[in-house]
C-alpha cells in the first residue's frame, strides 16, 4: 500500500478539507474530502505533476480541473488516522470521478508564499535571507568571501538573539546547548537568497522555539531600522552580544552595499514574516552607534572559584561550573584584588564588552570587573 504525508492544507474547516500530500518518491497528490462516515472523513486523492501542483497552489487552475481532467487516470482513497504521520492510500478503481463528487467550478487557492510552502514541506522552521549584492543583479551569484562572512554573521545574530530572548524570560539556554543552529539547504533566485532551516529536529508542528524567537526579534529590528532613532532604542534594550551582532550585520550590509530581506516561517504560520533593511538605513544606524559604546556592553555576574588574582597587573581568573573566565579591572572602579583569597568562592560583578570581527563574525569579549564579594558554598 502506498503511503502519503501531508504537505499543505489548502482548505481547512474543523479539519483539512483539501490538502496536498506526497508519496515516498516525491510524487504530489491532491486530496479532497469526499465522504464523511461515523469513523471519520474519507479523502479522494489524485496524483499530480509538479507543474499542475504549482498551478493549483497559485490559483491558475481550479480544484475541479484536477479531478475532472486528471493527468493520470489513477485515483486513491484515504482514511488517515493521524495527519502528523504518513498514512496509507488505497487504489480506487474508477475511470472518471462521478459528477456528484466533483467540486463546483471556481474553487481556487492562493498559496504563493514560497517560504511557508518550504516550511510545510520540510516541517521545519525555515528562513530565506536575500542579499542584494551587486554581482547578483543578472544571475544568482555572490562572492565566496561575502557569502562566508554573511553566514557567520547571520548565525551569530540568531545565536545571540535566541540567547538574549531566552535570558529575558528567565529561561536561559544552558551553555553547551545550541538549539538555534541552522543549516543552509539551498540557494534560489531573488537577489542572492540563502535558504536556511533549523538544524535541530523541530517539534511535531515543525517549530524550533529558539529559532522562532531569534527570527521574530531579527525581523522586528529590521522593521524599525528605517527609523535610526527607533533602531538605536531597540539596540539599547538588547545590549551586549545581541546588540553587537545586529550592529555587525548592519556593518556587513553597509560595507557590501547589499540590502537584506529576511523571510521566515514555521509550517503553522498563516504567512511568512518578511522584513527588509536598506543600505542607507544601515549606514544611518551605524553612524549613530559610533558614539554609543554602551550598546555593546553587557552586565555579567560570575559566581565561582577564584583561580588567580594579580593585584599588581589587575588580572584575574575565575572558574564558573568548570568554565574559566578571565579579565581585568574596570577603569576608574577603584577595585583592589589584594583581599581576594584564592580557591575561595566569590561573586564577580563584571561588564562584558563585545566586539565583532567583520568578515568572520567572530566575537571578541573583554571582561572588566566592577565589584566582587565572597559567597557561601552552595
Amino acid at each position: 500500500m502506498k503511503a502519503l504525508e501531508l504537505l499543505h492544507v489548502l482548505l481547512d474547516y474543523d479539519y483539512p478539507q483539501v490538502f496536498v500530500a506526497r508519496d515516498l518518491i516525491g510524487v504530489r497528490y491532491v486530496c479532497m474530502v469526499s465522504e464523511i462516515a461515523q469513523h471519520g472523513p474519507t479523502f479522494l486523492c489524485v496524483p499530480v505533476s509538479s507543474r499542475r501542483c504549482d498551478e493549483l497552489l497559485s490559483g491558475k487552475i481550479d480544484l475541479r480541473l484536477v479531478y475532472e481532467e486528471p493527468e493520470l487516470v489513477e485515483f486513491y482513497r484515504a482514511n488517515p488516522d493521524n495527519l502528523f504521520e504518513p498514512f496509507g492510500i488505497e487504489r480506487y478503481i474508477i475511470d472518471v470521478v462521478p459528477q456528484e463528487l466533483l467540486p463546483e467550478p471556481g474553487l481556487t487557492f492562493s498559496f504563493g508564499d514560497e517560504v511557508l510552502i518550504k516550511a510545510q514541506e520540510l516541517n521545519a522552521t525555515v528562513a530565506y535571507a536575500s542579499l542584494a549584492v551587486p554581482e547578483s543583479i543578472g544571475e544568482p551569484r555572490i562572492r565566496t568571501r561575502k557569502l562566508s562572512a554573511f553566514l557567520n554573521i547571520y548565525q551569530g545574530v540568531l545565536r545571540n538573539l535566541a540567547r538574549a530572548s531566552a535570558k529575558a524570560i528567565g529561561k536561559p539556554i544552558p551553555k553547551g546547548e545550541d538549539p538555534y543552529e541552522s543549516d543552509v539547504f539551498g540557494f534560489c533566485y531573488g537577489s542572492f537568497t540563502v535558504q536556511v532551516r533549523s538544524s535541530e529536529p523541530c517539534d511535531m508542528f515543525g517549530e524550533n522555539k529558539a529559532l522562532i524567537t531569534a527570527f521574530q526579534t531579527l525581523n522586528e529590528f529590521l522593521d524599525v531600522a528605517e527609523n535610526a532613532d527607533e533602531a538605536v532604542q531597540f539596540l539599547s534594550r538588547m545590549k551586549g552580544h545581541a546588540a553587537s551582532s545586529l550592529i555587525g550585520l548592519l556593518s556587513f550590509i553597509a560595507e557590501n552595499d547589499c540590502q537584506l530581506t529576511n523571510r521566515w516561517s514555521t509550517p503553522g504560520m498563516h504567512s511568512s514574516s518578511r522584513s527588509r533593511v536598506r543600505v542607507a538605513s544601515a549606514q544611518n544606524i551605524i553612524q549613530r552607534c559610533r558614539s554609543r559604546e554602551d550598546l555593546s556592553i553587557e552586565r555579567l555576574e560570575l559566581i565561582g572559584i577564584v583561580d588567580s588574582a594579580d593585584a599588581t597587573a589587575g588580572n584575574w581568573k575565575i572558574f564558573v561550573d568548570g568554565v574559566a573566565y578571565s579579565g581585568g579591572l574596570k577603569e576608574g572602579a577603584g577595585i583592589n584584588l589584594a583581599g581576594i583569597i584564592l580557591r575561595n568562592r566569590y561573586k564577580f560583578r563584571c561588564e562584558e564588552k563585545i566586539e565583532m570581527v567583520l568578515g568572520t563574525g567572530r566575537e571578541i569579549k573583554k571582561i572588566s570587573l566592577i565589584g566582587f564579594e565572597p559567597v557561601e558554598a552552595p
Binding site: 474547516y13 471519520g40 467550478p105 498563516h270
Partner: protein
C-alpha cells in the same frame, strides 16, 4: 476570560489559549445540515472523531470553526460533500464560550460552553 465557564467538552491544560476573547454579540457563520440547526452541527472534530489527529494542536481540535464573513463559506460549499448545507448565522454572547482568530480569511476557532443555546443560531444567511 474573567467569567468561569463550563466547557462543552473536556479541554486540555491552558485551553482555550490566553489569546482567546470573550464573546459579546459576536456574529459568525457556520455550515449546518439545514437552516434549522441541531446540536450535532456544533460539535468539534474531537467529539465527532475521537481517534483522529488532524495536524492541529489538541486544543484547536476541540474547537469549532466559524467564519465572520459568510462569503468565506462559499468556498466550502463548492465541495460536493458540503454543497447541500446551509449557511447559518450565529450570534454568540459571553455565556456561549470564547473564540480566537485562527487560520485564513475570517476563520475563528470557537470553544463552546455548555451554556450555548441553539436559539442564537438564527438559521438565516447574511
Amino acid at each position: 476570560m474573567s467569567v468561569e465557564k463550563v466547557w462543552y467538552e473536556e479541554l486540555p491544560e491552558q485551553c482555550p489559549p490566553s489569546e482567546a476573547f470573550n464573546l459579546d454579540r459576536f456574529v459568525c457563520y457556520r455550515l449546518c445540515e439545514c437552516v434549522a440547526p441541531t446540536d450535532g452541527d456544533f460539535l468539534s472534530h474531537r467529539v465527532l472523531f475521537p481517534e483522529k489527529i488532524f495536524r492541529v494542536p489538541e486544543c484547536q481540535a476541540r474547537s469549532i470553526s466559524v467564519f465572520q464573513n459568510p462569503e468565506d463559506l462559499d468556498r466550502l460549499l463548492k465541495l460536493a460533500i458540503h454543497k447541500h448545507k446551509a449557511k447559518v448565522k450565529i450570534i454568540l454572547s459571553q455565556d456561549d464560550g470564547v473564540a480566537m482568530k485562527t487560520g485564513k480569511d475570517s476563520h475563528f476557532s470557537w470553544w463552546r460552553s455548555r451554556e450555548f443555546d441553539l436559539a442564537c443560531a438564527t438559521g438565516s444567511e447574511a
